[in-house]
Amino acid sequence: MDRLFWLVPLVPGASALLLMLFGRRYSRRAAAWQACGAVLVSFVLAAAAFARLAGGQAALEKVLPVWISAGSFEASFSLAFDRLAAVMALVVTGVGSLVHVYSTSYMADDKAPTRYFAFLNLFTFFMLVLVLASDIVLMFVGWEGVGLCSYLLIGFWFDRPAAARAGLKAFVVNRVGDAAFLVGLLVLLTQVGSSSFAAINGAARDGRLSAGLATLAAILLFAGATGKSAQIPLHVWLPDAMEGPTPVSALIHAATMVTAGVYLVCRLNGLFAASPAASAVVAWVGAVTAAAAAALALVQNDIKRVLAYSTISQIGYMFIGCGVGATAAGLFHLTTHAFFKSLLFLAAGSVIHALGGEQDMRRMGGLRRRLPLTFPAFLVGALAISGVPFLSGFFSKDAILTSAFAGGHYVIYGLGLAAAVLTAFYMFRLVYLTFYGPARMEPEAGLHIHESPRAMTVPLIILAVLAAVSGLVGLRVLPGEPADLFGRFLEQVLPRTGRYPAPPTEIALILAATASALLGIGLAFLFYRRSPGLPARLAGRFPGAYRLLVNGYYVDAAYDAVVVRPLVKGAGWTYRNLDLRLIDGALNGSAAGADLAGRGLSAVQSGLVRDYALAFLLGTVIFLGVVLL
């Protein structure tokens, strides 16, 4: 069965194809079942292959026929199931399965469930292609494919203008990154002469790829990653992407697609390792994003947007990990984040579901008792992300921060720590606003509040368990000892380049992390439980800072003012002036000139014989003059 690992992407792919082709003939239930079934099958296949790897095999490979080849360019359908891919594939299919199941209920009343499941399956397909591709060009298929699915699913309710616009924004911003990706790809392809990851990493390691070019390529590819993973400066699309259905946010915009950038950096660890400069860029971008996005999450009122900024911030952590050489730690955080963030989203979805679509936290509150399953699940997620000890987030975040500190990246470490405080704070702000306090929803909506059906709660429970315990795989028996389970499993794929701190330092770091989590939670308690008027007062005291945060540092506005508007205006001006006035004007002008000449000739053709004879005489005189002279 493990030999069939290449079917992992194909099963959901086939399902998506069937759903798209015969969409109208499916009943709601059949579509849902097929979609879930496909992802489950794929999960099982992935698990089987994983078992094989766990048994000691290095990687499973499958080369399907050559895909694009011309001259020195060649890309093939080649898939590889190595340990890195295995982790990712399990996350994708695992979380994917749960989200699919959750969706059967969440989307039960939607107009077009078949389309929804088709897109979701299609997304799974592309994501798995991205994960399993051992050829960077093939990976790009998955890379852009998930972007497409993201576009389709953000704009799933396309009759809402905001959703349509958000989808477009997501796609375009992603494309900006992808353009850089493509250039990086070209650098690699022309310099390495092969598109396989092994060759690229190999070339980077043995120095065939010069350091300068490696840096160039790495930074370009990372630019692509910032687009996909919503890092500064290309993070602007993700908050808007919350226009999509909530399960989609959980799967695509939290657990899987947005982490593809991290995965890419992991995949190309050889390349990034060869370029310290590029790695530094990765770490710095990650750190700044982690802190800045966390700050933005503080002031959001939309429950999903809080989570979206949180996602941006958390992915920043992952990049810190990759950038400081603790690639495995980054991937580890990716995994745990997949669990707790999808848990948070799905739980938020459950809340929204219960409130009949309400997403504004200012109109929530006191839901603790009315959603007896959702609340604890959410709480587990919140604790995990806040880094409360012994939950998954604690381990993974700590691994990253520790590595950063150990590598001497103190500023980055500081930013990460600050972000951790903020994370704990905004998460518990969310918890308090939503589940505690008085109910602030419309009375009408308040009547219908009910716990979600089982198809939704069961995935919540499973994810809650995972969010709680999955951190244990990263537990090191002794501080300072590199042999954590997760890292060891990945060692051959992701060789560790960073150093570990000395055990005493590490203990101090752990304490600092724990303290920051508790500090954040405590502050949230202070602000939103003890003295609920405090936030408003604070905002009144620092109006500038508050406005800055509410407006997302004015990044959208800046893009609009600096890029979008000048471009559109300039294009319009050029169109009117260059195309219509100058080029067409020249054309029409020459036509008019010809016409004018014709008019002149007509005027000369006066109808008078005298004039005709005059012309004749003129011609003759000139002619004879030429002859005689």
Binding site: S602, S606, G607, V609
Partner: protein, 100 residues
């Protein structure tokens, strides 16, 4: 004796006078008369420029030119008659329906 050049220049003068007359005159008939002057200048040139047996040939040619002139005169006059019948005038400048 008179050099042939004198005859030729005379012919040229007559020719050019014919041309001038063609421009000065305003009715079809007189303009055609001007053309006759030009033709005659041509005849003079024929005779003036040839020597020896050539001038015998030139005389033959002059005969043909005169025949041409006669033929043109016949047709020309009938064209003028035609115009006169339609318009009761043979002013050349009035013939300008066709133009542009």
């Amino acid at each position: 004796m008179i050099p042939p050049l004198a005859f030729f220049v005379l012919a040229a003068v007559l020719f050019v006078l014919g041309v001038v007359a063609f421009f000065v005159k305003k009715d079809l008939l007189t303009q055609f008369m001007a053309v006759e002057v030009m033709l005659n200048a041509g005849n003079l040139a024929f005779l003036a420029l040839t020597a020896g047996p050539g001038r015998a040939n030139a005389q033959a040619i002059v005969l043909f030119v005169i025949a041409v002139a006669a033929a043109e005169a016949v047709v020309g006059l009938s064209v003028i008659v035609l115009v006169f019948r339609r318009r009761k005038s043979i002013r050349t400048d009035e013939l300008r329906d066709l133009k542009g």
